[in-house]
């Protein structure tokens, strides 16, 4: 279906007004929308809304005990941002593994989050970092905002809790507590241009030989990037000796729900989850 109307508003209220009309495709970085539509996997709706000029969607800044990352921040911007490096190393690492320089320069964090790909490169660390999505809408005539924890935000492959008349404005990350440590692992058959065979984030507060406030997230092993709650429970406060690590890795392998696809088999994904979770926990234990 060809596009009948195109807008590139310069303010949030204007953008939300167009969204309220319904039947609108949102254009952010375009790095996913263009190839999908070319391949016929996505058809344009009647309206195409370019949100690039909306100021609220830009910038990385400290805010409310954490940082607010505008939805239009590119992967490159995240990769080079000093705040991200200082406090959210695993997010910077995930950004470094993302595709290629050309794609990092154009792809946006907001696009990544709204696409909710089960393998989404940046989503796994965002989950481990307790990220939240800030959404705005103009349902009753005035701009309203709400925040949704990312752990609840992804509901299915390509599906999120964003309502059709809502715009994702930003991702919020709380500053991690003292003693926070995190690891990120992405597996693929090449360093770039890869949609992960699996990815893993493990985070928590180091306390003697255990992790508390444990967060474990996996990508490409379930319909959505997932927080592995049973693995977190097994990890929480457990002494990280050899036996403990093996047991936790086993819980992780059993908790994930991978499928067979052209990239990898379910069996192999589970093996990787076991082997790599074990490696990462070894690394945490020895740090």
């Amino acid at each position: 279906m060809p596009v009948e109307q195109y807008w590139a508003p310069a303010s949030l209220p204007a953008a939300l007004e167009h969204l309220r009309g319904g039947d609108v495709t949102i254009l952010a970085g375009g790095t996913d929308l263009m190839p999908q539509s070319h391949a016929g996997r996505v058809t344009f709706k009647r309206g195409l809304l370019n949100v690039r000029r909306v100021p609220e969607l830009h910038g990385i800044a400290p805010a409310g005990g954490g940082i607010r990352i505008g939805a239009l921040c590119t992967i490159s911007e995240l990769l080079h941002d000093p705040l991200v490096h200082a406090h959210f190393g695993i997010l910077a690492e995930a950004c470094d593994h993302f595709a290629s320089d050309q794609l990092r320069n154009a792809a946006t964090i907001g696009g990544n989050v709204c696409n909710a790909s089960p393998a989404g490169d940046t989503l796994v660390p965002l989950l481990a970092l307790d990220g939240e999505a800030e959404l705005a809408s103009k349902a009753d005539g005035s701009v309203e905002r709400r925040r949704v924890p990312l752990a609840d935000f992804f509901v299915g492959p390509g599906k999120t809790m964003r309502a059709p008349d809502e715009l994702l404005c930003a991702i919020w990350l709380p500053v991690p507590p003292a003693g926070f440590t995190a690891r990120f692992f992405k597996f693929g058959t090449r360093p770039a241009l890869d949609i992960a065979a699996i990815s893993i984030s493990i985070a928590g507060v180091r306390s003697r030989s255990t992790l508390t406030h444990a967060r474990v997230a996996f990508g490409a092993v379930a319909p959505v990037p997932m927080r592995a709650l049973r693995t977190e429970a097994a990890l929480e406060g457990t002494p990280l000796d050899e036996a403990g690590i093996v047991r936790i890795a086993g819980v992780a392998r059993d908790e994930v729900r991978p499928i067979d696809d052209v990239r990898a088999s379910a069996w192999y994904r589970r093996e990787l989850v076991f082997n790599m979770t074990r490696r990462m926990l070894d690394d945490v234990a020895q740090a």
Partner: protein, 792 residues
């Protein structure tokens, strides 16, 4: 007195003639050409794997504004079958036999309109059971894929033994068979102290040229056809097109725009080209057809997948006794060059290292899968993968060092193999010695074996493999020759008109280099014309690593004739004997002293503007002194043969199966290095193509459907993944080769997979008989081996 020293261009690093234009983005590939009034074509391809076509309704498509023509088989009753098996019509009317089959074609004002028109074509199919396993296709009662009432075609004129199957063979889904024997394998078996017997499975990969397939067709008012085509075989193409279209070949002109990669993908005629011509005929307009990348993956030829059983033996002193090889070739729905890879495979099975007794058999079976064409190496990657793994296994069984085993059986210059290949030059032993010495193969090999059992995560290993390939053309057509026309103008500028095509490999630059070497002129004084069949003389085409050798000798022949004419004229003018004169740096000089006697351009002008006016224009047709194989596939089919040995060092992560290619050390017998920059580039590129074949690339074909038709899931090697490369040249100075050179285009890709297999086995103790060595495949093999060991 001016003195000019002899300066040779041979072995120097010479920049490619077309590089500046390409680096600035000015080169116009077929995709960048637009003819005035041109229409854009798209092809409707089958959505079924095996089905009868009941009905095609193009009425809605024809009615779309901007559509000039919609054609189906019914609209082109004059179309004739194409390909070496003559088993495929460009537009399919009765039946589709694979998912890429062409059912209809549209020519429209724009690509967008053409695409929209495709969506308006309705096709009704009656599904037939798909055959996607060649073994199943051979079973009695299997559906017959080629059940059409086509009379058995005469074998393709250029093919000698190994003829396409006739109607009877088709009833059993057999497309072609090959049989070869030398000596008596029963004797060989009896003499063996060890025998190894293994199955190997080689997978589908595809060329992935960065420039997708494209063609432009235009008829002039008199009905002459011009094709802008990226074919690698323009003169054969011309001939075949004439047959397919029912035209006089003299009225077909092929112009070759610069190509965005070839690698063998453009050696056969594929339906899209004749279809484009049909549209040009139907619309009286130029028509341009360009594939999408997805279409390129789905509809282009692949490398030949092979299921191969090899049984080989040796005596306890390491002497090889026999090899028996049987293969099942998945021929796909239609026959293309992939089915003829046995020509090359049997050479390796019979002659890579000295083997007295050998038997070879291939059955190529029709299925509803994609079909294979020719691809750099042409079956040799597959054959070498098997042979070189078994060399290691035989050595291990005998307790002999694998390198010593190879050296013991390596041929020497002057040998003729039982298949009739005469090795005038042969650098195999030097290749083996140099590659293994430079890579510290022996120490690393031993160290890895000692470390195999250690419970470390990362394991290193080294593997060695050699290859044998034709290096002086391959006489499979009636002629393996190349023609050259050379002219020099009044300013000593040469135009070299050659039948040899440039496909990005640098042949144009090498030919210019050889001519400059003969005539003593600088490279910027040469223009090469090589891309128009109305202008250039005949050449069989770019394949079999033949262009430097045969195109080179042809160019040298023409240049030497020109030189003789020039020196004869110079002798007259100077009164000095011809034998004492030479051409250097644009001058005629005294050979002995280097004293410059005359400026070349001046001499040429004096020759031209005289009473007996004459220009220097010469021609030469070079036919290599090779022979056609007889009906038993025996004969000295190439004018020279080339060898290489590669040592691959790997690091295996036993927890993920990831294999990192750390280093490739190669020693290549190239005869002589002509353009050092160019030859290095060929080898580096070939190694990485071999790496892709071994490690990362797989065209996943399931139930006849390509599941990964894009670069996201078909993984080409990227810059951070390449190994360190250490390349050595062995110059055996081939007597027949131009300045001693032999062909090298395919060699570097051929033994990477075999060497990698041996390296992985050295590192882990686990031998893998299937490709590719993706992390999951390697991990599975390691886990299976651990389980087997635990069970023992």
């Amino acid at each position: 007195m001016k003195v000019i020293e002899k300066e040779s261009l041979i072995g120097k690093r010479i920049a490619k003639l077309d590089a500046p234009e390409k680096a600035s983005g000015k080169t116009r590939y077929v995709h960048d050409l637009d003819l005035s009034g041109q229409l854009y074509a798209r092809i409707l391809r089958s959505t079924r794997v095996h089905a009868r076509i009941k009905r095609i309704d193009v009425s809605r498509a024809r009615a779309l504004p901007g559509v000039h023509a919609v054609l189906t088989a019914a609209d082109v009753p004059y179309q004739r079958p194409l390909g070496i098996g003559k088993d495929q019509l460009p537009l399919k009317g009765d039946k589709v036999r694979s998912r890429r089959d062409e059912i209809a074609a549209v020519a429209a004002e724009s690509e967008a309109v053409a695409n929209a028109a495709l969506a308006l074509i309705d096709v009704e199919y009656e599904d037939l059971p798909p055959l996607t396993d060649p073994a199943e296709a051979l079973m009695p009662g299997a559906p017959v894929i080629h059940d059409e009432k086509m009379p058995p075609q005469a074998p393709h004129e250029s093919l000698k033994p190994g003829e396409p199957g006739d109607a009877e063979a088709h009833r059993h889904n057999v497309a072609m068979t090959f049989d070869y024997a030398q000596g008596d394998v029963a004797v060989g078996e009896a003499e063996s102290d060890v025998i190894v017997d293994d199955w190997f499975r080689l997978h589908y990969v595809t060329h992935c040229c960065m420039g997708v397939s494209g063609v432009i067709a235009e008829f002039d008012p008199s009905g002459n056809l011009t094709l802008y085509s990226n074919t690698q075989v323009p003169f054969l193409h011309k001939r075949e097109f004439a047959e397919i279209l029912g035209m006089d070949p003299g009225r077909i002109r092929i112009i070759q725009p610069p190509i965005g990669g070839g690698f063998g993908s453009k050696l056969d005629i594929y339906p899209f080209e004749p279809i484009c011509v049909f549209l040009a005929k139907a619309t009286d307009r130029p028509v341009k057809l360009v594939f999408s990348r997805e279409e390129e993956f789905v509809a282009s030829p692949t490398r030949q997948p092979v299921l191969l059983r090899l049984r080989s033996g040796a005596k306890k002193d390491g002497t090889l006794t026999f090899r028996v090889c049987e293969t099942l070739h998945d021929n796909g729905a239609y026959t293309s060059w992939g089915a003829t890879t046995p020509f090359v495979m049997m050479q390796t099975i019979s002659s890579l290292y000295r083997v007295p007794h050998c038997k070879y058999h291939t059955t190529a079976v029709y299925t509803n899968n994609p079909y294979a064409g020719s691809f750099r190496g042409y079956g040799n990657l597959q054959a070498t993968f098997a042979v070189e793994q078994q060399m290691d296994k035989l050595a291990e069984a005998l307790g002999i060092d694998p390198l010593d085993m190879r050296l013991k059986n390596a041929q020497d210059p002057g040998e003729t193999t039982p298949q009739g290949m005469h090795f005038k030059t042969c650098g195999l032993k030097d290749c083996l010695t140099q590659a293994t010495a430079a890579s510290h193969w022996r120490e690393k090999h031993r160290a890895a074996i000692a470390a195999q059992k250690a419970p470390t995560r990362y394991k290193r290993g080294v593997g060695v493999a050699s290859m044998l390939h034709v290096g002086g053309g391959a006489k499979i057509y009636p002629s393996d020759g190349c023609g050259t026309i050379l002219k020099i103008d009044d300013f000593a500028h040469v135009t070299l008109i050659t039948g040899a095509s440039e496909i990005g490999q640098g042949s144009e630059t090498v030919l210019a280099q050889l001519v400059c070497e003969e005539l003593g002129i600088p490279l910027d004084a040469v223009t090469v014309v090589n891309n128009d069949t109305d202008i250039t003389p005949w050449d069989v085409g770019v394949h079999a690593s033949r262009t430097t050798f045969i195109g080179g000798n042809s160019a040298i022949g023409a240049a030497r004739k020109a030189k003789a004419k020039i020196l004869a004229a110079a002798a007259k003018v100077t009164g000095l004997p011809e034998a004492g004169l030479e051409l250097r740096a644009g001058h005629i000089v005294r050979t002995e002293s280097g004293e410059a006697l005359m400026n070349l351009a001046k001499l040429l002008r004096s020759l031209h503007f005289s009473d007996k006016a004459d220009l220097v224009m010469t021609t030469h047709y070079y036919e290599p002194p090779s022979h056609h194989q007889d009906k038993a596939f025996k004969g000295d089919v190439s004018a020279a043969y080339a060898w290489a040995t590669q040592v691959v060092e790997v690091e295996v992560d036993t927890e993920t199966g990831v294999v990192r290619l750390v280093k490739v050390t190669g020693a290549h017998d190239v005869g002589r290095v002509l353009n050092r920059l160019g030859i290095e580039g060929q080898i580096e590129g070939g190694i990485v193509m071999g790496q892709g074949y071994a490690m990362t690339e797989e065209l996943i074909v399931q139930d006849g459907i390509v599941r990964n038709p894009g670069f996201r899931d078909y993984k080409l090697v990227t810059a951070p993944e390449i190994p360190e490369m250490d390349i050595h040249f062995i110059e055996t100075m081939d007597g027949e080769g131009p300045q001693g050179a032999k062909g090298v285009g395919e060699a570097p890709a051929i033994c990477v997979a075999a060497a990698t297999a041996n390296a992985i086995c050295n590192a882990t103790g686990v031998r893998i008989y299937e490709l590719p060595f993706t992390p999951e495949n390697v991990y599975r093999a390691l886990v299976a081996a651990r389980a087997e060991k635990a069970a023992e």
